[in-house]
């Protein structure tokens, strides 16, 4: 891990309306590597990606991408930086009024003056990579969940970005698409020399393709290391997560009053 990292997060704190979501995050995403952020639902993974993309401003600390502090940039600077980032949204976020083809072509048409036949070739290439070249005429409403996610992936990489953020790329994929998409993330990173951040719950699949893993719990980084470190780790948190055990330091419940207090008759009204 040499050279200046592409993304550097230092002492980052973030709260939504005074409720802390991320505390004291330090994270480094080196160039040309795939980094995974793992952690249970609601721990702040999507929020982290939004902070890197400059859609949210940290309460304190800073996020640097390619040497620039993201939240200090003006609108123009931020937009220039975002042209070199791709983001796969957790729920796809395809433009519902455009066909699959137009969705993938969107950035090419907005940001370049390429002639239409070249755009067509580029779009077909990206769709081919996610196995959906044949679906280019369909509208988003005609796609299954997993197909929509793959189209969103093709759209995220349309401009060959230097930083690609994947929010749950594996959710809703069958085992075959899953390993193909996993491979794709790996090869894209190599072919483009890009860096990738993969937010995922899918420990087994992602350990095959990532270089480094951060485990987040309740807004803090509780463990980190290379894929090898993680597999061998016997830290209770990591062990529980990797092997999917119900008992351990990770609470399954969103913070709540004691269960008995809420369900016992006669006291139920307090909840």
């Amino acid at each position: 891990m040499s050279g200046e990292p592409l993304v550097e997060i230092r002492n980052l704190n973030f709260s939504y309306d005074g409720r802390p979501v991320l505390t004291g995050i330090n994270m480094v995403i080196p160039r040309g590597k795939v980094v995974a952020i793992m952690g249970q639902s609601g721990c702040g993974k999507t929020t982290t990606l939004r902070l890197i993309g400059g859609q949210l401003k940290p309460t304190s600390g800073h996020v640097k991408v390619a040497g620039q502090v993201v939240h200090d940039l003006d609108d123009d600077g931020l937009y220039r930086l975002r042209r070199r980032m791709g983001m796969l949204f957790q729920f796809g976020a395809l433009f519902t009024d455009m066909s699959v083809f137009d969705n993938v072509a969107f950035q090419l048409r907005e940001h370049t003056d390429l002639p239409e036949d070249l755009i067509r070739d580029l779009v077909m290439m990206k769709l081919h990579a996610v196995g959906l070249r044949g679906a280019h005429r369909l509208m988003p409403s005609e796609l299954s969940g997993g197909m929509a996610r793959r189209v969103a992936l093709a759209r995220a990489i349309a401009l060959d970005p230097m930083l690609i953020m994947y929010d749950e790329p594996f959710a809703g994929l069958d085992p075959i698409s899953l390993s193909i998409i996993g491979e794709l993330i790996r090869t894209l990173t190599q072919a483009l020399g890009a860096s990738s951040v993969v937010v995922t719950h899918d420990v087994q699949e992602s350990l095959k393709i990532v270089d480094y893993v951060y485990f987040v719990s309740a807004g803090r980084i509780v463990a980190e290391g290379t894929a090898e470190d993680i597999r061998r780790s016997d830290a209770p948190y990591v062990h529980q997560f990797v092997w999917g055990e119900a008992d351990g330091p990770v609470p399954f419940q969103y913070p709540a009053p004691a269960y008995a207090d809420q369900i016992l008759p006669g006291r139920a009204l307090h909840g």
Binding site: Q55, A93, F95, T96, E110
Partner: protein, 264 residues
């Protein structure tokens, strides 16, 4: 007792300040829409597409309503005028009522409920499904790409729709007055031509419908952009668009009329 009153007052205060704050947001949003209108005007096909969705799709309801309103005007007008033995003035009555008042106002009310609500719902849903966020992440400003084309499309469509409404209404008045009741055709048209003033009536009517177009589309795009990103949020915003813009149209109509026809 004291407690109840203070609470009521605090509540009222909160409501007033939040309304004022929202008005502030809306004004800022309006200014931003104008600032980022470059794309919508340069790449005019984006706006044309929206003109199709807002304007052309409102066409049927506008034409049909215009026809009926004109026919009712023909009946009512004839009934009143013939008492004074001046039924051949029916043409003037129908044309002036439509061009000055009913055309712009009723067309704008219909436009608000047909196109305004659709704009709000569309933008609100794009927000709720993170399409606007995604656009921002792709370094494309959603105000420039999504809001401004819809805004300009509304402003361009509104006067055209109002004009079509009036034309259709005059035709309806003609059908009922001349064809059905038998008012003299020559005097129906010639009196109308002689008494409708271009500056005084037509231009003022166009100004009205232009203002209504700005008001309705502004409210519609703002409510959509500002909506809570949930199903209830979007449906609430859609209702607010129709209610707020209808009230705004009627209020603006009073103010404009007071200024325009002061001397008449």
């Amino acid at each position: 007792m004291d407690n109840v009153i203070t609470r009521a007052l605090t509540n009222l205060g909160h409501r007033v300040t939040s309304r004022i704050r929202r008005l502030g947001f809306a004004s800022r949003f309006f200014a931003m829409t104008l600032v980022y209108s470059g794309t919508a005007l340069k790449r005019f096909n984006l706006t044309i597409r929206e003109i199709y969705f807002t304007g052309v799709l409102s066409l049927i309801i506008i034409l049909v309503s215009g026809l009926f309103v004109g026919m009712v005007l023909g009946l009512q007008g004839y009934d009143t005028l013939q008492r004074y033995g001046s039924s051949e003035a029916l043409g003037i009555l129908v044309a002036l009522s439509l061009v000055r008042e009913l055309g712009p106002v009723v067309a704008a009310l219909l436009f608000a409920s047909r196109a305004g609500s659709a704009i709000t719902a569309e933008i609100g849903l794009m927000k709720a499904t993170e399409q606007l966020s995604a656009m921002e992440m792709m370094a494309v400003n959603p105000i420039a790409r999504v809001v401004a084309p819809r805004f300009w499309a509304g402003i361009i469509s509104m006067p055209l729709l109002a004009a079509l409404f009036s034309a259709m209404g005059i035709f309806g008045g003609y059908l009922v007055g001349v064809q059905l009741i038998g008012v003299d055709e020559g005097s129906f048209w010639s009196q109308m031509q002689a008494s409708v003033d271009f500056r005084e009536d037509i231009v003022n009517g166009v100004i009205k419908s232009f203002v209504f177009g700005v008001v309705v589309t502004w409210i519609a795009v703002f409510e959509g952009y500002d909506s809570e990103p949930t199903a209830e949020g979007v449906s609430g915003a859609t209702t607010r668009t129709v209610v707020t813009s209808s009230l705004a149209i009627l209020a603006a109509d009073f103010v404009l009329t007071a200024f325009m026809f002061r001397g008449v």
